[in-house]
């Protein structure tokens, strides 16, 4: 009896194993069969990281495929961290995308390793003119060797987001925010506004007697962390409005200016707001600051942030969102960092000419107008920018504070230099220490020497 009981089980076990193996094989074959594309068309891979822009670019690609029946485009989207990990590994293995969204901080290294194609050497993109894009964007993508490594896609600037209701409650009007001035010594009328908008737990305002900086209910300025090397939304607009620039050139500078007293004074002013109780301390925001939610939940009154955050801020529930210009600094006007993304072509692409046709289309009025109409970012071409302005206006948002900066050329370029990765690894923790208050800004002078040594 017992000797036979195991037999059916055994047979069943064996069958299960066989079936499973067969099933796996069949499925694998099915997978292989399913992934082929049409016979005579060339398939291109296009990667991007921002899922918010995915629908718009999908529409773009649909239009492109319609106009180019011989080409097929497969879009893949991965979140920021996955994107760069997968891209790097794929480059090593030679299985990367043909065309991909590129970032100013990353492309110098790719270009150095010969992973990017010069767009001017490809037929479809050879005649792209820098003048067709918003001022200066195309130049950001020109390598040290004079090659064009990216086709401008969009741009971003910084402005102040606020909740109009909160401003009105404070006895101010949103218009008051439009012509604030700032300087690193006493903070100007900008600091007065921040002080007035800060409220402690007892309801005392920051510019009133008895304000308790240890126990704050509403911070005047939302914290977005220490800003690391570029302080894009944190301090680049403050330091920039003193006339400071990151390096000694627009792009490919050979010396950084962290030793500049103007920058150091700007940092001292900004992180000094913590002791005054006008900005959240590092302990509160940690490594994942979330200024948009601070604004959305009434924890902060003003939030300086980038135009790429427009959809996020617009989506905050229960606030009457307004956008104001950055305060004007000692140079007499506001200054914002001006940065943009581009589309690059991998040198490993088997179809560089076809890839160039795609890049050309992604950089055309047609595609950038589609992207603009989606109201997520500012496309790099004026026609696209206008479409975006309109799309945001339809959402009830006046985005001119972002766009005026570009029109008036009140901009500061993102530091495109060599060794950006190593520089970031060095500077970011140091900026965190300054924010925490455990390091003096004057030490940046020595840090600057180390940074410049890295540039070699």
């Amino acid at each position: 009896m017992k000797t036979t009981t195991h037999r059916p089980t055994l047979a069943r076990r064996r069958r299960t194993a066989t079936v499973a193996t067969l099933a796996a094989g069949v499925l694998a074959l099915a997978g292989c069969a399913g992934s082929g594309s049409a016979e005579d068309s060339v398939a291109l891979d296009y990667w991007l990281w921002d899922a918010n822009q995915l629908p718009a670019y999908q529409s773009c690609v649909d239009a492109f495929e319609e106009a180019n029946p011989d080409l097929q485009v497969r879009i893949s989207q991965y979140g920021w961290d996955d994107y760069w990990r997968k891209l790097t590994a794929s480059f090593v293995a030679g299985a990367g995308p043909d065309v991909f969204t590129d970032h100013l901080t990353r492309y110098p290294e790719f270009a150095e390793r010969g992973l990017l194609l010069d767009l001017t050497t490809l037929e479809a993109t050879a005649d792209a003119e820098a003048a067709e894009f918003q001022e200066g964007l195309a130049d950001l993508w020109v390598g040290q060797d004079g090659a064009q490594y990216g086709m401008p896609k969009d741009f971003d600037t910084i402005a102040l987001f606020y909740d109009a209701t909160l401003i009105t409650e404070a006895g101010m009007s949103p218009e008051d925010l439009d012509d604030l001035d700032w300087n690193p010594e006493d903070g100007g009328s900008f600091e007065d506004a921040i002080a007035h908008l800060s409220v402690d737990a007892n309801g005392v305002r920051g510019d009133e007697e008895g304000f308790d900086p240890e126990n704050v209910a509403v911070y005047g300025l939302a914290s977005n962390g220490s800003g690391g090397t570029d302080g894009q939304t944190q301090w680049s607009w403050l330091a920039g409005s003193t006339g400071w620039t990151f390096t000694d050139a627009d792009v490919w500078g050979t010396e950084y200016n962290f030793d500049d007293p103007q920058l150091q004074a700007s940092l001292e002013w900004l992180f000094g707001l913590v002791d005054k109780g006008f900005m959240a301390p590092y302990e509160e925001v940690g490594t994942e600051p979330n200024p948009q939610q601070a604004l959305g939940s009434g924890r902060a009154a003003l939030s300086a942030n980038g135009s790429w955050m427009l959809p996020t801020y617009a989506g905050l529930d229960g606030i009457d969102l307004g956008i104001a210009s950055l305060p004007s600094g000692p140079v007499g006007h506001p200054v914002s960092m001006y940065n943009g993304l581009g589309d690059s072509i991998s040198s490993q692409s088997e179809h560089p000419e076809e890839a160039a046709r795609l890049v050309d289309f992604l950089g055309s009025d047609e595609c950038q107008t589609i992207v603009g109409e989606a109201g997520v970012v500012f496309p790099a071409r004026p026609a696209g920018t206008e479409a975006a302005r309109q799309a945001f206006a339809d959402q009830g948002l006046d985005v001119s504070p972002f766009l005026d900066l570009v029109e008036n050329q009140n901009t500061l370029f993102f530091p495109v230099t060599q060794s950006y990765g190593s520089i970031t690894a060095l500077v970011t923790p140091i900026m965190d220490e300054i924010y925490i208050g455990s390091r003096d800004v004057a030490t940046l002078t020595e840090v600057n020497e180390q940074v410049n040594d890295m540039l070699g």
Binding site: C32, N52, W80, S90, V92, A93, N290, D317
Partner: protein
Amino acid sequence: MSETTVATRPDEAGTTSAHSVPPRRRRRPSVGRIVAWVVMVVLLIITLFPFYWMLRTALSSNSALYAEASSWLPVDFSWGGFERVFGLQSTEEAIAQGGSGASIDFWRYLGNSVVVATGITACQVFFSAMAAYAFSRLHWKGRDRVFAIFLLSLMVPVIFTLLPNFLLIRELGLIDTLFGIMLPGLFMTPFAIFFLRQFFMNVPLEVEEAALIDGASKVRVFFSLIIPMSAGPIATISILTYITAWNDYFWPLMVSYSDESRVLTVALGNFNEQSPQTGPDWSGLMAATLVAALPMILLFLVFARRIVNSIGFTGIK
């Protein structure tokens, strides 16, 4: 039981006879017992609290989470997180609620994950069991040396083999296929072989000798004796393999390029940070994590008792 009897099924074996339970007398619970219970309950709460917190976050609205970050109950209750996970929301709705604009084809990803995890588990356990048998019960020249080399390969970090494997998969033209995701784990892992070998070595020699004297071949012994007698360990390694395959992230991310071959873990990466500074979609992320973990929790609930009951079992009592 006589020694020549072939294995009984472990789950039918009277496991209770192994340890006699003293007759219980009804008495007032002692202080020590109460303390033990309290400690147990506290530990249980500590263990389960993160799951509760995930559920609470998953059922909140993103925008409200920051206003009441320390609330014990869901803030501004919403099914939004789960709706995004199952791909039930329109892109516009998702973006408005702090989600992403990526479309989610949930059931497809789930299917892909099931295929990958099942395929890897079935093949890997089967082949590893064969290898483990060879390493534990067959005698051949250089056996232990080969096994030592196998054990050495346990010390090679996964990240080392990732790129060579990826290159190989690319050369084989298996990029963006489920088979490509499965292949590296399909045949064996040193750990599975090592694990099963330990158990096979404990199967009494007498049982195997008896079978061989009765005229069974080595193959027959493997299928009729070793496998049934090691059902517990095999179930254990199967579950471990299944969970590992299910949770694997970086390899499927590398191989997959489109929805064709995207598994659940990779697809749910969408709820992570999309771009720097935009912040993750917390409620979606927590809902996604719960949904992805649920099948594994169920698997454990179903099999846990069996594994524990049968793990100590060896043929002779």
